[in-house]
Symmetry: C2
Subunit: 128 residues, 2 copies
DNA sequence: TAATTGTTTGACGTTTACGTAAAAGCAATG
DNA sequence: CATTGCTTTTACGTAAACGTCAAACAATTA
């Protein structure tokens, strides 16, 4: 018997609202079972939520994320669409590569400003 | 006399609509001058647009981006708020660091699937 | 048992980031 | 000079991602 979670367990753990979790269910990102009427989340749901939130932090839409999940699932499923799968994966890869570059550039910029800023603060400190 | 651009120049170059450029002006991301009634974008506007689009790719809101611009400007302006500036910069840095990590993890995952996928495709190729 | 706490399903509201259409103006071109 | 092309403002529309009630039920706890 593996761990299971209530809706507010996960909400608390990941810092989202229960509304968000229900919304994600509507969008097919998680598929909690039911204990009577109450939702009961499995470890799998938990993982999916974690992945979804990471996707969100990277600017992916819920739809993007759902598609990714479907692709992941498909990888363990039937073939034939494997080439299509490969193509979509490659698009993602390109997008992420771009994003990595974006992050690096932006970090450089911010670091530049931060350094500049620290210098000014230090100088002023000395000039006191 | 440095280069200047019309609204569709920039739209074309960056693959956005003119509506988007006007919207970004409404949001204070660019501040084109006017030639009579027509907008005339400077190199500075062009740079800002480029930065804005990068921000967008990273999932920043237009408001986030505007705040960043204000921070950048502030860095060349008056002091006193420099510490606040430093603090905000550090938040951005943390966010970007998180994002970098996210990207790496996601790239690893995708690469795993891609490799798996290629293997399957190759095997099938051979089995023909 | 009464009250509190957590859950459910609607369902309408809100924000962001534009899309889209309308009506009108300048400017070059055939 | 009429058409074509690019521009302007104004303004309503929309999709995504939830927020925010409301009304109702269930399980604890006082």
């Amino acid at each position: 018997m593996s761990k299971s979670y209530t809706i507010s367990d996960l909400a608390r753990e990941f810092g989202v609202t229960t509304r968000t979790l229900r919304h994600y269910e509507d969008q097919g990102l998680v598929t909690p079972a039911r204990d009577g009427i109450n939702r009961i989340y499995t470890a799998r749901d938990r993982v999916r939520l974690k992945l979804a939130l990471r996707g969100k932090r990277l600017g992916f839409s819920l739809n993007d994320i759902r598609e990714l999940f479907e692709l992941y699932d498909l990888a363990n499923g039937e073939r034939g669409k494997l080439e299509e799968f490969a193509i979509k994966l490659d698009r993602r890869r390109a997008q992420l590569a771009q994003q990595r570059e974006d992050v690096e550039v932006m970090l450089d910029e911010i670091n530049f400003f931060a350094t500049q800023c620290q210098r000014l603060l230090t100088e002023t400190e000395l000039g006191k």
